[in-house]
């Protein structure tokens, strides 16, 4: 293997050098506990404040509305459980969708076993919710709408502004998992009427193990961890100081580079999609054609299975991901691909390639050159392909 091409930026991103440079002193000479009153502590506390401010600015929030967590999944868990238990005298109904990240879906399923009721909204073939279905789902028992900003598998971006306006009008709390959207879409929590929002550092060229939950001032939510006074007594535990510093820097950079990032990733995305569609038959591009993340491509290749595609790509140094059952460790293919109406057969042949800041045009051209050969090799082995051979092809 002479080169490695990383096309799994939706899974995680490398830490940018500028981010790492800011983090490093906080492991060694500036190692203080932000809760300590001495100079080491004050220095650390100040760094946390700077990071909090950078993140707040990135989403149009106030500093005191940003709460650091151990990542996106933790933020999702906190937002949902924290809201429903703090507001259970008002109702027990939650609205979400069928295509949420498991951090949201499994939390909702857990709450269903504990007396809460959950409505899982459908999505159309592009992965979009129907705003009327959402309107009709709201009852006087509804206390929370938790609906992802952009989907991690197929990249579809939901009509967040309309959802936020509706939630505000109906006086229901609105949480959005923006782990995939943050750094790829301009987000202002006030314009969009978002009450809570989960974000994560490692998706935006920051470190793993740190995220944040935005909580609008005045939102009634329970504390996540009890103990010390950190995070305004809502999330106890000594702060992940270097991680938080890195997250702050990554957020600042993401905002500075947002336009060039979008242009770069979207143009490579278009190049990849066109290149593959020109060379391969029986392939579908999943997700919304317009309302989508700039760097996300999700193909479904008929007659072949995703894991064998991934393995073959990996042998050439190309790293992607798939929603096939064989890569998820379960019997069924991805719940997202099933929700957009793909058959099992086609969903098993899905391949997600996600593009980022370090992706080069020649990387994409290499994939355009190699992927069709892999698809053809696997199809030649597939008993499902026999029927169509000599037909359209």
């Amino acid at each position: 293997m002479n080169q490695r091409i990383y096309l799994d930026y939706s899974a995680t991103t490398p830490v940018k050098q500028e981010v790492l440079n800011e983090m490093l002193p906080y492991f060694t000479e500036k190692f203080g506990n932000p809760s300590s009153i001495h100079s080491f502590g004050r220095e650390a506390k100040q760094a946390v404040d700077v990071a909090r401010d950078r993140i707040a600015k990135a989403i149009g929030a106030k500093q005191e509305e940003i709460f650091f967590t151990g990542g996106g999944s933790e933020a999702d868990n906190w937002a949902i459980k924290g809201i429903v238990y703090a507001n259970k005298e008002k109702g027990n109904h939650i609205i979400t969708t069928k295509i949420e990240h498991h951090a949201v879906l499994h939390t909702c399923e857990y709450l269903e076993k504990n007396g809460f009721e959950v409505t899982y909204l459908d999505v159309d073939q592009y992965g979009m919710i129907d705003i009327d279905q959402l309107k009709n789902a709201i009852t006087d028992k509804t206390i929370l709408i938790t609906l992802m900003f952009a989907n991690n598998e197929i990249g579809t971006i939901q009509p967040i502004k309309e959802i936020g306006a509706l939630a505000k009008e109906r006086k229901v709390y609105f949480h959005t998992d923006a782990v995939q959207a943050f750094g790829n879409v301009n987000i202002n929590v006030n314009d969009l009427n978002i009450d809570m929002m989960s974000i994560s550092a490692h998706k935006i060229y920051g470190p793993k193990g740190v995220g944040a939950l935005y909580i609008r001032k005045g939102v009634k939510i329970n504390a996540l961890l009890h103990g010390g006074a950190q995070e305004r007594r809502r999330r106890a535990g000594t702060e992940n100081l270097p991680g938080i510093v890195g997250f702050g820097k990554a957020a600042e950079l993401a905002m500075q580079n947002l336009d060039t990032h979008i242009t770069h990733t979207a143009s490579l995305r278009d190049r990849l999609v066109k290149g593959i569609l020109d060379k391969v038959d029986f392939v579908k591009v999943n997700g919304h054609p317009i309302h989508r993340l700039p760097g996300n491509v999700n193909f479904a290749f008929e007659f072949i299975e995703g894991e064998s595609l991934l393995l073959s790509l990996d042998m050439l140094g190309i790293s992607g991901s798939s929603g096939s059952a064989c890569t998820s460790g379960s019997l069924d293919p991805s719940h997202v691909l099933m929700a957009i109406g793909l058959t099992h057969e086609i969903a098993h042949g899905s391949l997600r390639l996600s593009i980022g800041d370090f992706t080069k045009e020649e990387d994409i051209d290499y994939v355009i050159n190699e992927l069709p050969k892999i698809v053809d090799r696997l199809r030649q082995m597939s008993p499902l392909y026999e029927k169509v051979k000599g037909g359209q092809k």
Binding site: E305, S324, C326, M381, S382, E386
Partner: protein, 145 residues
């Protein structure tokens, strides 16, 4: 995740293809679960003289099909019927636990093709008296490790 042997059989599968006028053809698995194996046998004097396969599925599904064809080629029907999923796993230097069902499919694909052969000849093969070709062999819950 996979042994070198599995990767070798996945990247360079043996005996891929079809046999025209095969003496026995078996297909197991289903699209829903994401793997289908089809096996073709050419049999002369109770000996499997040629075998080919086609598989839709993950890396281990392709590798187990490939090695299973190697393990039965040139064998008598009775020897081929003795092929177990465990032997397939061992020949591949092991499979991850969640992939052991692929070896079960490979064993069943061989049995299914031999069953088809027996049906065509109107004979009953020892060991296949109770074989049900249409049964769903793809049971992830009963993986034999």
């Amino acid at each position: 995740m996979y042994s070198e042997k599995v990767m070798d059989h996945f990247m360079n599968p043996r005996n891929v293809g079809e046999i025209e006028n095969a003496d026995g053809v078996g297909q197991v698995g289903n699209v829903k679960c994401g793997d289908i194996m089809k096996m073709y046998l050419k049999i002369e004097d109770d000996v499997i003289v040629d075998v080919k396969f086609k598989t839709f599925g993950c890396g281990s599904a392709i590798a187990t099909s490939s090695i299973a064809t190697e393990m039965i080629k040139g064998k008598t029907i009775q020897d081929a019927l003795k092929l177990t999923n465990r032997a397939v796993v061992e020949a591949l230097d092991g499979l991850p636990a969640q992939k052991v069902h692929c070896s079960v499919l490979a064993e069943q694909a061989v049995k299914s093709a031999l069953f088809d052969y027996a049906q065509k000849r109107n004979i009953v093969l020892e060991g296949l008296e109770d074989f049900k070709p249409d049964e769903d062999h793809h049971d992830h819950e009963e993986e034999h490790e």
